[in-house]
């Protein structure tokens, strides 16, 4: 019975990790940016949804939608306010741009999370859930929300896959991640590709944040750990590889869940971290990394 519990809980939490990590790695693959304000955007979207429901009385669907819109707006702001100006800045040497962008996104993340804490306090908030209740599956009593979370995550990932592999615009984005110069030569403006990618990223991160908010609740204290876990997963899986992120998310998710149930919840982050250390030493580019 414990086995099924681990299986189900692990699946849900891994799906959530996977959604966040996919967005994170997409941005790196196409824009070349490691967005360290990732956790902040997730939390901000969740808090926005909570605020819309709690303070304005919106229903669960409407507040979720509102939260997503705000998250997407924040993602766009991240691109236009921190990333793009540095990429185009003549004052910063080319070789140093990545470092500056990393620092800028980190600071931007702090700004967002401090703003959220200022207006809405540090307390944990739970987003109004869309699905409630408990079901018993395979002898395990599980909140229906968990299945809902896993389902939405995979639908989102599936839609992303379809978009990138089957639509013309999606393929352009994929091509841009392989060879930006090639895309320019074919008459496609890279700016529109970047815009599209950050919008998609905002969508994915917001959904992940809101689902997390419904599932476990968020607060501005969650920001750091969320960025850290997305980032560790992506490093494990290989920067820029979506497949890698998906697999790594499940590895980490299950390691955490199994450890929490079998050993102790306090130690749940340890095995994943150990794995990360091993990977950093043996294969720093991650399982599927190519850059």
């Amino acid at each position: 019975m414990l086995f099924w519990q681990i299986l189900i809980d692990g699946f849900a939490i891994s799906a959530l990790y996977a959604l966040g990590a996919t967005g994170f790695t997409l941005i790196f693959g196409v824009s070349g940016v490691l967005n360290l304000s990732h956790g902040a955007i997730m939390v901000a979207a969740a808090v926005a949804a909570w605020a819309l429901a709690g303070l304005m009385g919106a229903g669960p669907y409407a507040s979720a939608a509102g939260g997503v819109l705000i998250g997407m707006a924040l993602a766009m702001a991240t691109y236009f306010v921190t990333v793009r100006p540095i990429q185009r800045s003549p004052r910063i040497a080319e070789s140093e741009k990545e470092i500056f962008i990393l620092t800028a996104t980190l600071l931007w993340g702090i700004i967002i999370s401090e703003t959220v804490a200022y207006f809405f306090t540090n307390n944990a908030k739970t987003v109004l859930p869309i699905v409630e209740g408990v079901v018993t599956v395979l002898g395990v009593r599980t909140p229906t929300n968990e299945f809902f979370t896993a389902a939405i995550c995979w639908v989102a990932i599936g839609l992303l896959w379809l978009l990138v592999n089957k639509t013309r615009q999606g393929k352009a984005v994929l091509a841009a991640s392989m060879n930006p110069r090639g895309v320019t030569l074919l008459g496609i403006e890279l700016t529109s590709i970047h815009l599209a990618v950050w919008l998609i990223y905002g969508l994915l991160a917001s959904i992940a944040g809101i689902l997390l908010g419904m599932f476990l609740g968020v607060s501005s204290y969650s920001v750091g750990p969320l960025t850290a876990s997305a980032f560790s997963i992506v490093v494990l899986g290989g920067l820029g590889s979506v497949t890698g992120s998906l697999i790594a998310a499940y590895v980490v998710g299950y390691l955490e869940t199994a450890t929490a149930y079998l050993v102790s919840p306090a130690y749940r982050t340890i095995p994943a971290l150990l794995l990360l250390v091993v990977v950093m030493y043996l294969r720093p580019q991650g399982l599927f990394g190519r850059r």
């Binding site: 393929k171 060879n179 090639g182 320019t184 074919l186 403006e189």
Partner: protein
């Protein structure tokens, strides 16, 4: 002094250097000559230890240095002057030279007066006495090259490796540099010069080794190498033949593309010096020139990929200020030397991306036409681009560019590194395009033999300047001799 025997270097499946053997005596200058992709730079970097050899031996004064890391090779007495100046931009010229004099220890806490004196003396010798306290960003191009030379002198090397010594220099600067290199020889050092142009270094080298596709194809004095049949065939492309169409048809036509006084600088180096040329609708124009002549720079300026002074007019209106993507959408499509394919996508996906502006029905039709033009692409339709052979990749790159339905197709060095058999296929395809469509083509080539039959008009580009323009039948008589 230096003995290289059966040196081979493989990068994955690509053999960059194959069984190369040569030797240099003290007080001798050897020229390693070859076009882009011939392996000459790889060979040099392998001797220096920047790249590790796959097999073969490299002996300096009898001791094996092959496989050693570059700092050990340097300490054994080998100095390298890179093709592109690499100064420390935040340090003064004097400090830059001092770095070359400092020993490889962690305990040097204080600057020594001795090193300071030595550095000043070297600077004087290299002609940098006046700019000792200035920083590299403020220096002229020639002075930056002198700095590279000064660093090499500071190493007191037994063997000096020089990569493309005269690139970007004016005639008088070339003279000054040659003198400095000759001084190395008179000091009893061995010098290895790597260059793409035999003529340019002929006056300086004692002997030359010509390379092509990683192998040695000729050896001897500079004059002997220039006369060698294999060398002429490989560099010039062999006997010049021509099949022309009625060139007169374009004489009075309006200029589809008009380039006027275009100047391009890369940092300090002047890559294009006031180039003016034009192409009329339907014309096939070839721009021929050696490596580094400026063909790619010219094309990149036209395509909007590189900032430039001067004007480029397309259909009468200037292209300045337009993004590169919009230039491409406007009908000027470039198929660059590096091809820029989407390696992890299939042939079909690459082509479809090229046709992203077309309606689905037109896209299918165009793709079919291209499969007809390049049948091998149809066979490889579902194959991932990265796994195609060099020739197939080139065909894919051209086909993808043609999917854009361009009015002007710019082809940059399509034959580079390809086997003669593929050249046939490309040649036939170009012929078909010329005869059956109204496509305008601007072709950049080192391989004149390939370019001539497809050109209505030729330009010769040398060191960033246009030195000759005319129809193909006059090329052999007027320009061919000076070209090699």
């Amino acid at each position: 002094m230096l003995e290289v025997a059966q040196l081979t270097k493989r990068f994955g499946g690509l053999v960059a250097v194959k069984d190369l053997s040569f030797s240099i005596r003290p007080g001798e200058i050897l020229g390693l000559i070859g076009p882009n992709g011939s392996g000459k730079s790889t060979a040099m970097l392998t001797v220096m230890g920047v790249i590790a050899p796959s097999s073969g031996s490299i002996k300096l004064e009898g001791a094996e240095i092959g496989g050693l890391p570059s700092h050990k090779v340097a300490r054994k007495g080998v100095g390298l002057i890179f093709q592109h100046s690499r100064p420390l931009n935040r340090q003064t010229v004097l400090e830059n030279i001092k770095v070359a004099l400092i020993p490889d220890r962690l305990n040097m806490m204080f600057h020594s007066a001795e090193i300071d004196e030595q550095a000043r003396a070297i600077a004087e010798r290299a002609g940098l006495g006046a700019v000792l306290e200035r920083k590299p960003p403020t220096l002229a191009f020639a002075d930056l090259r002198r700095l590279e030379l000064a660093k090499a002198i500071a190493r007191h090397p037994k063997l000096v490796l020089v990569d493309e010594p005269f690139a970007g220099l004016t005639a008088s600067e070339v003279g000054a540099f040659s003198e400095l290199i000759r001084e190395f020889r008179s000091e009893g050092r061995a010098v290895l010069l790597v260059d793409h142009n035999v003529k340019g270094v002929a006056a300086l080298v004692d002997r030359a080794v010509a390379m092509y596709l990683g192998e040695r194809i000729a050896e001897g004095t500079a004059a002997e190498v220039m006369r060698d049949e294999t060398v002429r065939r490989v560099y010039l492309g062999g006997a010049l033949t021509r099949t022309t169409r009625e060139a007169a048809a374009f004489a009075g036509a309006a200029h589809l593309l008009a380039v006027q006084d275009v100047v391009v600088r890369y940092g300090k180096a002047l890559a294009l010096q006031g180039v003016s040329m034009h192409v009329s609708e339907g014309e096939f124009v070839a721009v021929v020139g050696l490596n580094g002549a400026g063909k790619t720079t010219l094309f990149n300026a036209i395509s909007g990929l590189v900032p430039h002074a001067g004007t480029v007019r397309w259909n009468g209106s200037p292209l300045g200020g337009m993004t590169a993507a919009s230039v491409a959408r406007g009908g000027v499509v470039q198929c660059p030397e590096t091809r820029e394919l989407f390696g992890d996508m299939t042939v079909r996906e690459n082509l479809d991306l090229g046709g992203h502006l077309l309606q689905p029905a037109d896209l299918t039709q165009r793709r079919e036409w291209l499969f007809d033009l390049f049948p091998i692409l149809r066979d490889r339709e579902s194959q991932v681009a990265r796994t195609l052979s060099g020739g197939e990749q080139q065909m894919l790159a051209i086909a993808r560019a043609l999917m854009m339905d361009p009015k002007l197709l710019i082809l940059d060095e399509p034959t580079l590194g390809l086997a003669p058999v593929i050249l046939e296929t490309l040649s036939k395809a170009l012929e078909r395009l010329r005869n059956t469509t109204n496509l305008t083509v601007l072709l950049g080539e080192q391989n004149v033999t390939f370019a001539l039959p497809h050109a209505d008009r030729l330009y010769v580009l040398d060191h960033g300047k246009l030195v000759w323009e005319g129809p193909p039948d006059r090329f052999e008589a007027e320009a061919a001799e000076t070209y090699l």
